[in-house]
């Protein structure tokens, strides 16, 4: 037994040394391992981000701080174990300087340990559960957090004479985050809340909406992952909830720009709070939307796309600041506190939490030039993630 142990130990030592020996190559390239769900139920997230990343490089060239950017795209099919292995392989075999992408919370969390161990920055471009950035000191987020988007909804509802809200959220991390942050804030302001959680793989909303209808609330607060929003909206109308005077409110996922046209007129009138709308009124956004549509056959960018776009900006700005130094700690230091004007408006990477600080907009879904858009009408400036803010 001891003999075997020594043998194994020797073997391990040798091969570690061998691997280290081949470390120094391709000094002028900085690789980004982009891990996205390109297939499976969340593939639309992957496609949006992939398109945005390509657009960014097409617009800005591919050399930053003396480093040529190389993207290695991997499909994790929305499967966390695969994400973990891909992250590990990208770090070990491809020696990537950044890990980026991460379509869902579990996927982002699966890679967190790899980021920590390898000291490689992990840029979360989509996943939105509040706690993600706490999983590793190397995580930086350019999407949003659900509490960040949901709490302002509670404020708006309270101010607009909504007393009783029924919440319907998908039963997983982000949904629970949205429900909790909204309900707590709303109750604290004197409102009453009833809640129901819908399983993630649920084919029919009818029974949940029926409960909602019988509760006779002033408003229905909803969070469902981008993609199944359409089905929800249609059944909401089919059940006559709109005619009964129930307002549809929630974070903007349910009226995702990517699928809004498909949802159709039933979406009109929904009030949502979110960080990005393709209709955001700024020069930067108009240019972004136009370029994105031109490059992708008319596909409208959504909040996933803008997360990927800004993620690339954060990465490249950091490379410029470090003059091409790809040391993880230096890059993270460079990212902390970074701020710039994004298509969604001004954003900042919080120096303490590495999470994003951004404007949250209250929007109403309306028809504009024959197309449906979420038109922003109130701005809540520079909102921090309330969950982490409360811990301070």
């Amino acid at each position: 037994m001891t003999l075997r142990r020594h043998f194994l130990k020797g073997v391990l030592g040798l091969s570690v040394a061998a691997a280290m020996g081949s470390a120094a190559y391709a000094q002028d390239v900085a690789k980004i391992g982009l891990i996205l769900p390109m297939t499976g139920p969340f593939a639309s997230t992957g496609k949006q981000i992939d398109a945005a990343v390509k657009l960014f490089l097409a617009q800005n060239g591919n050399t930053f701080g003396g480093k040529k950017i190389e993207i290695i795209l991997k499909d994790d099919t929305g499967n966390a174990d695969t994400t973990r292995r891909l992250a590990q392989e990208l770090v070990v075999n491809d020696r990537v300087a950044f890990l980026a992408g991460f379509g869902l919370t579990p996927l982002a969390l699966a890679a967190a340990q790899v980021a920590t161990q390898a000291k490689v920055p992990e840029i979360v471009m989509a996943a939105a559960t509040a706690t993600i950035t706490e999983a590793s000191p190397y995580i930086v987020r350019t999407s949003f957090t659900l509490p960040q988007a949901s709490e302002p909804m509670a404020d708006w509802a309270l101010k607009n004479n909504i007393k009783k809200v029924f919440t319907v959220v998908t039963d997983y991390g982000p949904g629970i985050d949205a429900e909790n942050s909204f309900a707590n804030k709303f109750k604290a302001g004197g409102g009453t809340v009833e809640s129901v959680r819908v399983p993630l793989r649920n084919p029919d909303f009818a029974p949940f909406l029926q409960r909602a209808a019988e509760a006779k609330p002033d408003a229905l607060f909803v969070f469902v992952p981008s993609g199944i929003g359409a089905q929800f909206m249609k059944q909401f109308v089919e059940r006559g909830l709109d005619k009964a005077g129930v307002k549809l409110i929630g974070p903007g996922d349910v009226v995702d720009d990517d699928i809004l046209a498909g949802i159709g007129d039933v979406a009109i009138g929904a009030i949502t709070t979110h960080h990005y709308s393709a209709a955001h009124d700024s020069a930067a956004n108009k240019a972004f939307v136009a370029a994105f549509k031109a490059a992708n056959g008319g596909m409208r960018p959504n909040f996933m796309g803008v997360g990927g776009y800004d993620g690339m900006r954060v990465i490249t700005e950091a490379l410029k600041k470090t003059n091409g130094n790809t040391d993880g700690d230096a890059l993270i230091a460079a990212m902390k506190g970074m701020s710039f004007e994004s298509p969604r408006g001004p954003i900042q990477i919080d120096a303490d939490t590495r999470d994003i600080v951004q404007n949250i907009y209250v929007r109403k879904t309306e028809k504009k030039d024959g197309e449906l858009y979420n038109i922003e009408f109130t701005i809540i400036p520079m909102v921090k993630d309330p969950v982490k803010a409360a811990k301070k």
């Binding site: 297939t39 499976g40 139920p41 593939a43 639309s44 496609k47 129901v196 959680r197 819908v198 399983p199 793989r201 649920n202 084919p203 029919d204 009818a206 029974p207 949940f208 029926q210 409960r211 209808a213 993609g227 199944i228 359409a230 089905q231 249609k234 109308v237 089919e238 059940r239 006559g240 990517d258 699928i259 498909g262 949802i263 159709g264």
Partner: protein, 285 residues
């Protein structure tokens, strides 16, 4: 409360139309076709394409979905499925899972991964309110269409020559062959009918169940539950199984949303323990 019952029945009706073809093919050829959902998905996409790209009205797309999928069914049965009948269940399972994978990836490639959305004609939107019971117009429509289908299937199965030959073949294909019944042709026809019905169910179900490339995987379980619980030798068996499933599923989610998703699985396992040959299977010596 009654609304829930109504919703459940409508949901069950769609499940029945989706699954009854599977039940007959399973009974007839003892063939485990996990790819049945792929046919349903195809029907859904036919409707979507016709409506979105060609502007065909919804009602007209339904028979087209039926015919289109039935034709594809005939061709696939001839080319791919027939060599599989003699093989064991395991090979069949693997073969049809392969087809499901191809269908899922193919649909993703051709149609994109997002949920497909159709716009129903105005007269199918909204709901009636009868004595405080809200009844969705579309659900009522689905219920009527599927009800007529179920009725005519039952009639066709029990009263026509085709039906009696089919029943004989399901009971014992060997004996039926001996009696001069062209079992192969009968089966090709049944397969086409079954796939066509799945296609129609897929088209009708877009509004209720959604439609995306993962449809065949997501609903495979539902179909199989209907078939295993309902048995494979009658039309009424799968029909009541689908009703039971639809109502239990919807009611479960309504009354105990915390465990709503469990209910159908638990129900299935319990039923299979109590009645391993299916709830409505005829007793066989």
């Amino acid at each position: 409360m009654l609304t829930i019952l109504f919703d459940g029945i409508a949901y069950g009706m769609v499940l029945f139309v989706l699954a009854c073809g599977l039940s007959v093919t399973m009974g007839l050829m003892n063939f485990v076709n996990l790819a049945h959902g792929a046919f349903a998905m195809l029907g859904g996409y036919i409707t979507v394409i016709l409506m979105q790209r060609l502007g065909v009205p919804f009602l007209l797309t339904l028979p087209l979905a039926f015919i289109g999928v039935a034709l594809v069914g005939v061709v696939l049965e001839r080319v791919l499925y027939r060599p599989m009948y003699g093989k064991n269940h395991l090979d069949q399972v693997m073969f049809t899972i392969g087809i499901v994978f191809m269908a899922v990836a193919g649909a993703d490639y051709l149609m994109g991964s997002s949920q497909q959305i159709i716009k129903l004609p105005a007269w199918l939107q909204g709901r009636f309110n009868i004595g405080g019971v809200g009844i969705g117009k579309y659900r009522l429509f689905v219920l009527v269409v599927c009800g007529i289908l179920a009725f005519s299937l039952q009639w066709g199965f029990t009263k026509t020559r085709f039906g009696s030959r089919l029943r004989a073949s399901v009971d014992d294909a060997r004996v039926a062959r001996g009696l001069g019944i062209p079992v192969n042709r009968l089966f090709a026809l049944t397969f086409a009918l079954g796939s066509g019905l799945a296609g129609l169910g897929g088209a009708l179900g877009i509004e209720l169940m959604g439609l995306d490339p993962s449809f065949p995987l997501k609903f495979m379980i539902y179909f199989l539950v209907v078939v295993t619980v309902g048995g494979t030798s009658t039309i009424t068996g799968p029909f009541f199984a689908a009703m039971l499933l639809g109502v239990a599923d919807v009611a479960g989610k309504y009354f105990v949303p915390e465990i709503g998703a469990f209910i159908i699985y638990v129900l299935m396992v319990i039923l299979l323990i109590v009645r391993p040959d299916g709830l409505f299977a005829r007793g066989r010596a």
